[in-house]
């Protein structure tokens, strides 16, 4: 237990540093019994609990409660077993994402989801956020790669969801828990699927003189029946920032570049790279380079994986968005972002998981300038609401947390938000586990002024409005 402010201050925020709150108490349990006792005690006393992994989350999901306990799972860092025959690894939640693949490597296996923060982020946090990564178009998100979790409900009841046998009986509560932002259960053990490591991988770096053409090329690759292992896009402001930082060898003259990867057996990769090159050529790629060896492949990816820190070097602060859109609306949304840059007087490089339509525009600002921060938040809100308008979502993989809670009022109707609250109540009737995150109350939506109104009828007229 940490109580002194000098000890609790490091926990005041996660990767979303704009929101800070020093927790009253930080608990660092080492055993499941201790986790259970913390939860039972807090339930008895009506004290809120916020679970935390490595604190790399980008939406404030681990923002501590001022009047409660921050439950750090950092000491749960043991890999319980790697079962090479069943291709399953069982890990405690504080194990780093990359450490699972390292432990599986001697068996020629790996854990597929690879969020950019994988050297630091924990598997428990990945479960909470349903983390993705640059290879999730082909290999899926956390929800596709976790088979079982064990943990406790807020009241301290032991619970196990999913199974190492396929298709556990009853409702798919595992799917409900994954991506629930630590609001339904506290996870103390995670079993993940391991896949055979592809024998080889090669990546094409393709340059385009127009962002719209690059977007069309993405659709063309998929229309040709190809699911690349990774399909990423960066615009020119992003490649320029990255190139100064890591020297990835990107084409700085291009308006946008695509990274298009193939993995598998050598025969498969050779065949797929040739097919992808033919498609990209027809789609108007101005230049294409295929990685010659593993070192070059990793260098091409290093720029993409370092995009956030690289942007951090050219601006005092940046704000990362996470909307997902149908791929065909890409040109429209990029044009909209360009208009917002002019409207708010802020720059915004774009990196983009193009294959699955997940955008990460990075608004550059200076947090010491109160007006820039205000304009940044308005800019971000407009972009997220545009994502909803074109048929997408406000968050693809970073979560709602505290950051996008207002936009939930735009994306969902009151009946749907009430159903989310009811799901929460089934697991945590006293609403003590990570309260106030991810799902807004209707009162909060009313306050935001964006209550979803259908047919001119204000829903829930009984609620107080202010």
């Amino acid at each position: 237990m940490l109580r002194e402010e000098e000890d609790t201050r490091p926990y005041e925020c996660d990767g979303l540093t704009a929101y800070r709150q020093v927790p009253m108490v930080v608990a660092l349990p080492e055993t499941e019994e201790q986790v259970q006792r913390v939860l039972q005690t807090c339930t008895a006393m009506g004290v809120p609990v916020v679970p935390r992994g490595a604190g790399t989350g980008l939406s404030g999901g681990a923002l501590p409660p001022g009047n409660g306990v921050l439950l750090s799972m950092a000491k749960f860092m043991r890999i319980v077993r790697v079962d090479s025959r069943a291709r399953v690894a069982v890990a405690q939640p504080g194990v780093r994402n990359a450490a699972i693949s390292e432990a599986a490597a001697p068996y020629g296996l790996y854990y597929a989801p690879d969020p950019s923060s994988q050297i630091a982020c924990t598997i428990g946090g990945n479960v909470a956020e349903n983390s993705g990564g640059v290879h999730c178009l082909k290999y899926g998100l956390t929800v596709h790669n976790v088979v079982r979790v064990r943990g406790f409900t807020m009241s301290g009841e032991a619970i196990e969801l999913g199974s190492e046998a396929p298709d556990a009986p009853g409702y798919d509560l595992l799917a409900l828990a994954i991506g629930s932002e630590g609001m339904l259960i506290v996870v103390t053990e995670v079993a993940v699927k391991l896949l055979p490591k592809p024998q080889c991988a090669r990546v094409i770096m393709a340059s385009f003189d127009d962002v719209g053409k690059a977007g069309q090329a993405v659709a063309d690759v998929i229309a040709a029946g190809i699911i690349p292992a990774g399909l990423e896009m960066m615009d020119q402001p992003a490649t320029r920032a990255v190139e100064q930082f890591v020297g990835a060898g990107y084409d700085l003259q291009a308006a946008a570049i695509l990274l298009c990867e193939s993995d598998g057996t050598p025969e498969e990769v050779e065949d797929e790279i040739a097919r992808m090159q033919a498609v990209l050529e027809r789609s108007g790629a101005a230049r294409m380079t295929v990685s010659r060896d593993e070192a070059e492949r990793l260098r091409f990816w290093s720029g993409r994986k370092a995009a956030f820190p690289a942007v951090g070097r050219i601006s005092p602060d940046y704000y990362c968005m996470d909307g997902t859109i149908p791929r065909k609306r890409l040109g429209e949304i990029l044009q909209f972002i360009a208009q917002m840059e002019a409207k708010y007087g802020l720059r915004c490089p774009n990196v983009f998981h193009a294959g699955d339509g997940n955008l990460h525009p990075l608004i550059l600002f200076d947090a010491n300038d109160a007006d820039e921060l205000r304009r940044t938040e308005l800019f971000a809100a407009e972009v997220l609401e545009k994502c909803i308008e074109v048929g997408g979502t406000i968050t693809g993989e970073h979560g709602v947390g505290v950051e996008k809670i207002n936009q939930m009022c735009v994306q969902f109707q009151p009946d749907e938000l009430e159903m989310f609250q009811a799901v929460k109540a089934a697991f945590d009737p006293a609403r003590l586990l990570n309260p106030g995150k991810a799902v807004p109350t209707l009162a909060r939506c009313a306050e935001y002024g964006r209550m979803h109104v259908r047919g001119g009828k204000l829903p829930h007229a009984e609620l107080p409005r202010f």
Partner: protein, 349 residues
């Protein structure tokens, strides 16, 4: 019939406290506990709402025929990768999602739930609720659409759903091996740990069939490495998926036992057919439900009484008390009057 008509039927039933039996083509009437209630025919709300091959997404209404959907996807060289069983020409899209069943490709491509992107649901109050969407990555709100997969219509009427689809693999072939059961289980688990494009497996009576799918050169190279005899009959896999293969024709109850794939031979009286690289053991047997469920539990798996002339037991493996309480509370949240398919999943709800 419009969505409003279905909503009115549901509101009316909720008002009377009358049980509703949600039903499409009735091809899966045998699945789960015995259905009861007034039939609400979901086929009245049908049609493919949108299909964008380059977005890899299809959205359809519950009453759409699964065969129509398959044909539409096939025109563009795409398919539902989890290969859902139809169990009859009348199978509907809504029934497919409510049953949540996946076919031979399950072990490599994933289950139906892995392809759920979004759904529109009519809940027990008659409200139309939308969850998820039509994009690949979406973590806004709890993943309610995946919860609906396999819920057997007990949470509401799945009016519309969006699924991820994939391009059909350019090349497929099937290999046949003579192999006793223990060696087949061993070989399947060894192969699954190697980068081989295995997309289905079935062992029965000393014969193992393995299907390879992918780019032609990769399939050829894998076939050379693995050996065996090439058969190349797609009809073989259709018969496994649709339970028209002779194994499934007997009069004994059919059990579906899910276990961790390396699990050794299950010592149970009766006949077995193994799929999913060892993860699924079909059993036709007159063994007592208790014996079958105990054997599954010992292997850290679970047994479903899949099909039987007269069901001697509950269809699904019982849940522990904490999970059962969560099931009942979720059921109550979606269906406060308890009108949707009562008892179909568990007698308690």
């Amino acid at each position: 019939m419009s969505l409003q008509t279905l909503q009115e039927r549901i509101r009316d039933a909720a008002g009377r406290g009358a049980a509703l039996r949600l039903r499409g083509g009735g091809t899966k009437d045998f699945y789960g506990n015995t259905p009861r209630g007034e039939v609400l025919d979901t086929r009245v709300f049908s049609g493919i709402v949108s299909y964008e091959p380059t977005e890899l997404v299809v959205t359809a209404r519950c009453g759409t025929l699964l065969s129509e959907l398959d044909a539409t996807l096939a025109e563009r060289g795409q398919f539902l990768p989890f290969e859902p069983p139809h169990f009859g020409a009348g199978a509907t899209f809504g029934g497919c999602i409510a049953a949540g069943l996946s076919g031979p490709r399950r072990a490599s491509a994933g289950a139906l739930r892995d392809y759920m992107l979004g759904a529109r649901l009519i809940d027990g109050r008659g409200h139309v609720l939308g969850f998820g969407g039509q994009v690949m990555k979406n973590v806004a709100g709890y993943d309610v659409s995946r919860l609906l997969a396999g819920s057997l219509g007990t949470l509401g009427l799945i009016a519309e759903a969006s699924l991820k689809v994939l391009p059909r693999p350019p090349s497929e072939l099937t290999l046949r091996f003579e192999m006793p059961e223990e060696r087949a289980i061993e070989a399947l688990n060894r192969w699954a740990g190697q980068p081989l494009p295995i997309s289905a497996s079935a062992w029965h009576d000393g014969e193992l069939h393995v299907r390879l799918s992918g780019a032609a050169p990769a399939v050829r190279a894998a076939a050379e490495k693995m050996g065996g005899e090439r058969t190349g009959e797609e009809a073989f896999w259709t018969a496994i998926r649709e339970h028209t293969a002779p194994f499934f024709g007997g009069p004994e109850p059919l059990w579906r036992i899910a276990v961790p794939p390396p699990t050794a031979r299950l010592c149970l009286a009766g006949n077995q057919l193994i799929e999913w690289g060892g993860g699924l053991r079909w059993l036709t047997s007159d063994a007592s439900p208790h014996t079958v469920r105990e054997a599954a539990l010992r292997a850290k798996g679970h047994a479903t009484l899949f099909r039987a002339a007269a069901k001697p037991a509950a269809a699904f493996a019982p849940l522990d008390p904490v999970l059962m309480r969560l099931h009942r509370e979720l059921k109550a949240a979606f269906d406060p009057a308890g009108i949707f398919n009562p008892g179909r999943l568990y007698a308690e709800m």
